[in-house]
Amino acid sequence: MKIEMKNISKAFGTNKVLEGVNFTVQSGEVHALMGENGAGKSTLMNILTRLYGDDGGEIYVDGKQTHFSGPLDAEQHGISFIHQEMNNFLEMSVVDNMFLNKEIKNKFGIMNESKMREQARFYLNKLGTKIDVDKPIGTLSVGRQQMIEIAKSLMTNAKIIIMDEPTAALTENEIAQLFEVVRDLKKQGVGFIYISHRMEEIFEIADKVTVMRDGISINEYSTKDVNMKQLVKDMVGREIGDFYPDRNPHFGKVSLEVQHLSEKGVFNDVNFQVHEGEILAFSGLMGAGRTEIMRSIFGIDPHNEGKILIDGKEVHIHSPQEAIKNQIGFLTENRKDEGLILNDSLRDNIALPSINGFVKHGIIDDKSVNDFTNMLMKRLTVKAQSADVSAGSLSGGNQQKVVLAKWVGSGSRVLILDEPTRGVDVGAKREIYDLMNELTDRHVAIIMISSDLPEVLGMSDKTAVVYEGKITGIVDTKTATQESVMTLATGGSNDGRTN
């Protein structure tokens, strides 16, 4: 199967998003699509699968001009799309989500639940994940949900699979597993469109790369003929130096300390401290309990034992309001379900945690709110027509920047960032790292959960590694290596013993 998209154009209102884009993919190849946040990658794919209509251009399938009537039609023609933003029914179980609209039924219309369960498990196993398929999907981490999305598309027997940032919340192990499956399917003749901001992945898995900038396709390369520097230059229109800025931290006193924090069956005896001006990274495998620990500190979930101290004084936090009162901020990993109010404007989203500070005589001071949000949007280079557009209309990476802006603006002294650069492009990543440096220079303590090991090693001062709900080690990042962190993350100690 060969898909050619020619001269595709698309505008949302007055916002021209695509202007004559060309893109081709065929069976048996992995074709990467790269570009800054808002370049139009997801939109292009939404046009291919006809979630959106286009304003011009042609699509050829095996040389024949084709119009799919909608996403379902595209899927039935063998094109499966793993979306960047997952659309799950959070209350429904994993199998029910996986088989939505493709339920296995007998001739009387009665569903064969055991068969669906069995198949769901089979495909998840193929990806090397063990997930209780009867659990409501909303109780699973973003990474797990992403694995389920992938399994779902494997089930469709697709000939072309589109993956829009499939690995943004996956850790090394899952990525390795995923790539194995991709290589396997490639051999069987499946084609892939692979969208990612993680450079290393492109060189590892892709055969070809197309770079988009501001709604046009700039260049197509064979991966072996191009280097990282060239791709970055094509994407952002200039060279950027190092991916990670230098860090010259100055630690102050202990800002947040956690003692013996436990929640039965989730995490156990967690102890750590983070100083003013310090970046403490949390690393570990998916499901190790990193997010759960942070949710508990922030008062979203409970804990049965342990103490939380701020500036050496014990605090009791039972809800996010109390955490915010104690000047803790929490960027959640799941921007769509927990981070953003998609229908609300960027301004309302960014100002929400700080809104009580903008009140004069009981009335919100709109001008200050405007100045505040404009300043933050500039600082985080949010690409949007104005602060009035809804958060849901932004590209994935730009949505992430809005969530980040919201918490940076809240003036927290302890900032917990769960996957802060999920889906963010290289240029903007660098800006976020610079911002983190600036915050720590102003004595903010940062806790960063990240599945991206290079990011952990590049930006943190210390790394806490979590394995099965326990901290197996807190290491000085300067002396850490990918291997030493991975060993701790898989529960082994550094002398090579496995268990």
């Binding site: 996010p320 927990e338 229908n343 929400l352 919100i364 280079t381």
Partner: protein
């Protein structure tokens, strides 16, 4: 980099956007068309006396619908408003009939509405009951309580009419304008400011748009929910006081199906039943549309049976148009 960060500086570029226009001003345009239509068919409609009459008729539904707007913005619903109206109206009337001073009787009736609304709020926020079910239950309970309290008979009495203040609420005039219209206007202004100018309003929208995200951003979602149902209850009892004064009596079946008119006004005004989207201005327009339809059809001598059909169809059209303009 610079040019890519197109953050609009103060005020957005005013490019004409038809869809935005429809969803913002659509109800207003519909109202104007309706007024022109009714005036053409029955010129008496546009007489100032009829218009004042219309506004007075609208006031009761509008006041309830303003409260309902908050509820629906959070994705909830309040079916109990009609029953709250009846119960608080009856309590106020019986206090007056037994000679209690008007100030106290009115205040007790009004605050009692708040209390009943608060009860709804507790059931929904802390009892985690679905708003539809919780208020369906309290609707029945409050109505039953009204029958028990009144023994099923209307409450009237000479003493009721002794109080100037009480009569003034529903039947009084100020500068030639019926007092209920002033009450509606004042309530509108207060709730407009509350919804669009205070943090409480921001939190209402946030709660309706994504409760979990609002909670994590530090919104006290339960407290906001309780206050919102309290407001709805207060608006219902205020409407009850106006109605009781207007009729000089409290009827045990007063306010039956008023919740439907209020919900219709909110929806006609473009507020989404899914929550998070809508404006109180729309609700005002929605209430006026319903009022104009009622008034116009009465002028035209259309039977009340047909009136119901027409009203239903208008609501359907409004909802379908709204779907059109919000689905891209």
């Amino acid at each position: 980099m610079e040019e890519q960060t197109k953050v609009a500086e103060k005020g957005e570029k005013s490019t004409f956007n038809f869809k935005k226009f429809i969803s913002k001003l659509g109800p207003l345009v519909a109202l104007i068309i309706l007024i022109i239509l009714v005036t053409a068919l029955s010129p008496g409609f546009i007489q100032p006396s009829n218009l004042l009459n219309l506004l007075r008729q609208v006031s009761i539904n509008a006041v309830i619908a303003f409260g309902m707007t908050f509820v629906i913005l959070t994705g909830g619903i309040d079916l109990s408003v009609g029953s709250i109206l009846a119960l608080t109206g009856a309590v106020t009337a019986s206090m007056l009939a037994s000679g209690t001073s008007a100030i106290i009787a009115l205040l007790v009736g009004f605050l009692m509405g708040g209390l009943l609304g608060f009860l709804n709020g507790v059931l929904i926020a802390y009892g985690k009951a679905a708003p539809f079910i919780a208020t369906l239950a309290t609707m029945t309970i409050f109505r039953g309580a009204t029958y028990v309290f009144t023994n099923g008979n209307p409450i009237t009495g000479a003493k009721m009419n002794n109080s100037f203040l009480f009569q003034f609420m529903g039947r009084g005039y100020l500068l030639g304008i019926p007092v209920p219209i002033f009450i509606m206007a004042i309530v509108y202004l207060i709730l407009y400011v509350l919804l669009h100018k205070t943090t409480f309003g921001r939190k209402t929208y946030a709660l309706g748009g994504n409760e979990q995200a609002a909670y994590i951003a530090g919104v006290k979602t339960k407290i906001v929910t309780m206050w919102i149902y309290t407001i709805s209850g207060l608006m219902a009892s205020l409407a009850g006081i106006i109605l009781t004064s207007r009729l000089s009596s409290a009827q045990p079946d007063a306010g039956t199906s008023y919740e439907m008119d209020a919900i219709a006004a909110v929806v006609l005004g473009g507020t989404s039943l899914a929550g998070g989207k809508g404006r109180i201005f729309g609700t005002l327009i929605g209430a006026l549309i319903i009022g104009t339809l009622n008034n116009g059809m009465n002028l035209l001598g259309i039977s009340s049976f047909y009136q119901q059909i027409v009203k239903g169809i208008v609501i359907l059209i409004a909802v379908l148009l709204d779907r059109r303009s919000s689905n891209d």
